[in-house]
Amino acid sequence: MTAALRIFFFGGITSYRALFHWLTPWILIPTFIVEPIFQVLFFAFVGRDAGVGDDSFYLIGNAVQFAAIPCLFAMGNTIGNERYTQTLGLLLASPARRLPLFLGRALPVIINGFCVSLVVLVLGALVLRVHIPAEAWVPIVGVLVVTSFSCTGLGLATAALALRVRETAVLSNIIIGILIVFCGVNVPLSALPAWMSTISYVLPLTHGIEAARDLAGGASWSAVTGLVATEALIGVVYAALGMAMLFALEVESRRHASLELA
């Protein structure tokens, strides 16, 4: 394996272990299993009572949305926390290529997001007795992977911003709030004011949720490829934006001593 690939894979996992401080069962299980199930049940019951959507609508919306939580927070932590550990200066003083150095951190985060949304979907389906057709599961898994990727792209952009403004958790929380409201998680896009649904089309999650709902409703994979491709493209754009910001930050910090590096 070349040095860059090793930094991407091995370095990425190490950074994730080093900096994502939620990695203890006391945080992981409540945050990634218990709380999501409560949220799914809450919206499903509200939905039943109000007679708006069916259980499947809420289950899929919330399960896919839960990929965004680790994607934003873990990505924010694994890059933003370099500041607290005061290791950023050491990273930037190293000759390592920056692209694998930072992008590698996204891989474990994507896997984390995917696992969370899959677990929530399976458990939620069992608890609410939502029937998802057997042949829909494989394409839905694909959608979850792509959505986790796009949310991680947004996470990377947020993390780069966090390095500049210093508070990753606050920023991530705001963005999660925006995603929940704008992306059709619990409210159909058609029910949103026009300007909100316009914004939702440039956010990750929106197209992924729609694709997963279509698949659960019996649509074929070929019917949702456009949605999935759009979701992936949005992820690529945010990730590129994040990397560009990280490069710019490094240049700026050398010029203006803007990051406290040691």
Partner: protein, 322 residues
């Protein structure tokens, strides 16, 4: 060819809020310094807080761009070829930050071995050697959050050496370390230099420089005040001897009289609770001491001692005059 060539290197910082107008001020942290470090040398940058030591090091390790002048490390320009410089240098700063607390000491080293492109097959052995060098063998499996300050500092040193750098930059490496640990650190650094590594070290601790360094530059206010071997610096500022006399009942009214004695170069007073210490610098202690004692006739005196000037005497005089 010198390993480090610094030519009229300067760096100023803009500080103040980026939002409020007029409040911005410019601090000249380093004002056009020049020096060279030869292969295998241990070069010390000695100076008070805010002298510009860290700023200088940050420019040499490519973390900060100079605002004036130039610097080359191993022949590579720190601005034009940062990656070539980074590959070949190690960097260690003092204090207990800069480590991944949640990882073991071993994993911290593994990670940086990857960043510096240490071939995977060599990593295990290299890390074992370094753990041995810094005395952390057996502790490498523990999470760093349980390490003491001294252990952290030793881990830092190991980290800085993973890729066998040709030049090592040490910014106050012994800060917060106990005397035994600091001595071990000096031994480690001396051992490195004996194997051919060039070291640039900053410190406030005079004896550290005196004991270790081949050459020293005294820096204050962003400028180099003096440069030379520890011996040269000592003789340059205070050649001769220092006579110290402990006086119990006041000495201030006699200072002028002491200063007037032929052969006295300077006189200082250090006060403590019970007594004052008269510090007389002179070229010839044997002739001067009786005259000084005569000038203090009638005072109750304690210890009277003659000693060689230390680097600290030289340093205090230099920095005070600056």
């Amino acid at each position: 060819m010198p390993v480090i060539e610094v030519d009229q290197l300067a760096r100023s910082y803009r500080s103040g809020s980026r939002f409020s107008r007029g409040a911005r001020t410019e601090v000249e942290a380093v004002r056009g310094i020049s020096f060279e470090v030869e292969p295998g040398e241990l070069f010390g940058l000695l100076g008070p807080n805010g002298a510009g030591k860290t700023t200088t090091i940050k420019m040499l390790i490519t973390l900060l761009l100079p605002t004036g002048g130039s610097a080359r490390v191993l022949g590579y320009d720190v601005v034009a070829d940062p990656r070539e410089v980074r590959r070949r240098i190690g960097y260690v700063f003092g204090g207990d930050k800069g480590l991944y607390e949640r990882l073991s000491g071993y994993d911290n080293l593994r990670y940086f071995a990857e960043l510096y492109g240490v071939p995977p097959r060599e990593q295990r052995q290299r890390i074992a050697e370094l753990l041995d060098l810094v005395g952390l063998t057996g502790k490498e499996g523990q999470r760093v959050e349980g390490y003491s300050r001294g252990m952290r500092q030793r881990l830092h040193i190991a980290r800085g050496l993973l890729h066998k750098p040709d030049v090592l930059f040490l910014d106050e490496p012994s800060i917060g370390i106990d005397p035994v640990g600091a001595r071990e650190l000096r031994e480690t650094v001396a051992a490195l230099v004996s194997t051919g590594t060039t070291v640039l070290l900053t410190t406030h601790y005079m004896f550290e420089d005196d004991e270790l360094c081949d050459r020293i530059a005294v820096i204050a206010g962003g400028a180099i005040l003096a440069e030379g071997t520890p011996e040269q610096l000592k003789s340059r500022v205070a050649d001769g001897h220092v006579v110290e006399i402990e006086v119990f009942d006041g000495v201030d009214d006699r200072i002028d009289a002491v200063r007037a004695i032929a052969g006295v170069t300077s006189v200082g007073v250090e006060s403590s609770d019970r007594s004052q210490l008269l510090v007389v610098r002179t070229a010839a202690a044997a002739q001067v001491t009786p005259a000084v004692l005569a000038a203090l006739e009638g005072r109750s005196l304690g210890r009277v001692a003659t000693r060689e000037p230390t680097l600290e005497d030289a340093y205090v005089e230099l920095v005070r005059d600056a």
